[in-house]
Subunit: 280 residues, 2 copies
Amino acid sequence: MNFTDKLKKAIESSGSVLSVGLDPDPARLPLSLKEQVSDPNGQVVEFCRRVINATKQHACAFKPNMAFFEAMGDAGWQILEEVSDMIPSNRIFIADAKRGDIGNTAGKYREAFFDRLNADAVTLNPLMGLDTLEPYFGDASKALFILTMTSNTGAADFLQRRFEGRLSLGEYIAELLSKKQERSETHLGMVVGATQPEAFEPVIKAHSKAHLLIPGIGTQGGTVESVVKATADHKGMVVVNASRSVIYAGSGSPEWEQEVSLRAEQLKEKLKPITERYVA
Amino acid sequence: MNFTDKLKKAIESSGSVLSVGLDPDPARLPLSLKEQVSDPNGQVVEFCRRVINATKQHACAFKPNMAFFEAMGDAGWQILEEVSDMIPSNRIFIADAKRGDIGNTAGKYREAFFDRLNADAVTLNPLMGLDTLEPYFGDASKALFILTMTSNTGAADFLQRRFEGRLSLGEYIAELLSKKQERSETHLGMVVGATQPEAFEPVIKAHSKAHLLIPGIGTQGGTVESVVKATADHKGMVVVNASRSVIYAGSGSPEWEQEVSLRAEQLKEKLKPITERYVA
């Protein structure tokens, strides 16, 4: 099944365009979980399992953030493999890696994320040039989400600055991606931060068929309303990610899983105006 | 000991500015090693051990490339931890990760590379803005090598293009890094590709005290002579990396370790004009 069909089915079966970001931080796990599971690595596995179970009815995608697993060393990579297996096969698995490297090395990252972890998509950094994306090409069941506009203040340093006559470097990247898409079976999507909708409108126009992964909702301060508005005419599909604001929604409570589930459900509801574009 | 002193001592004790890149690819291991060690993961560990032993007299630094370890899954991360422990403490350990992410996530990568693996330095991607470097600040014993000009053809897409009135985006990044250095105890070095010396001269001028990590020698086609010339007046120290051209120098031969050692020694000799700048 090609990536677009898989994403569409995931949105249909969950009735949601929400992606839940898995950023498991041992220091922030719910107290009640720590009391139930003694092994620290087991706590992380169990946390991810319960978050996935609590949110899968409200999310079309899960996005494990590599950094949080790598920070746990070799155990973290084992946990990541376990967590990858927990993501339902009718949901999209996005490996949030933001890698970017020359061909030889990029081929190894492709192996790590597509062949080993069996992710449906990976986030990538295009700074070194679009030739660094090519090792990921040739598989219609996969997608790349490429950084074009991010949600941090540092986006002003480079991505939001004028470049080659365009409004921003991000817009220029998007334009090149749109051309590059013609030579790739792998879908070239984009990561576009939600905190600066005025910066992202020209970016998404420049590559209008790209599926979008939009972080920055919740903890980072982006609003769902502005995303709904800014993507009204976009031809690719829109997936909106929330991480900390969902997974730590109930960390102080013994009923934390219900609170996590509720928070995901609330976001799903708020995102309905987007979901309804794809689901009859 | 601060990073600059540690690097200087590593150059003094090896008499070399060569960095050996560890890109262990199971498909390219020496045949004779495969015959001696039956376990595939053991082969990679043993390969790295022998490469380090064969080259440590000729190299001031080792640079494991994360992608090659990640492509081996959870076993790869274990191997990486073993290999990290093999790097002599009087040599520089550069984690070649090219990560770049927002503060929360960057803090986890810092934990992975500095706290877990105990690397002396990590390579980073600055596209998302210089605020993404700050979680790595505050430790004078560590260094960041930040991508400013790379050695692949795709560097022409963004890094070599005119930006904000400078000759290139790479030059502009370097200029911001030079200012940012004033606020960081962690050294802000740069990765500057060797295949385009004419593109890198303005970059290294813009951040003239930065230590440089120069890849692209050997397999990628950069020449030592052009690097020697282009860095003649540079105030930071220059480390030149070679990966595949060294570690696979003797893969067809039962005496592969001698050939790897010889190749490193030849590069050390060629790099003497640089080394002599730092060693009396």
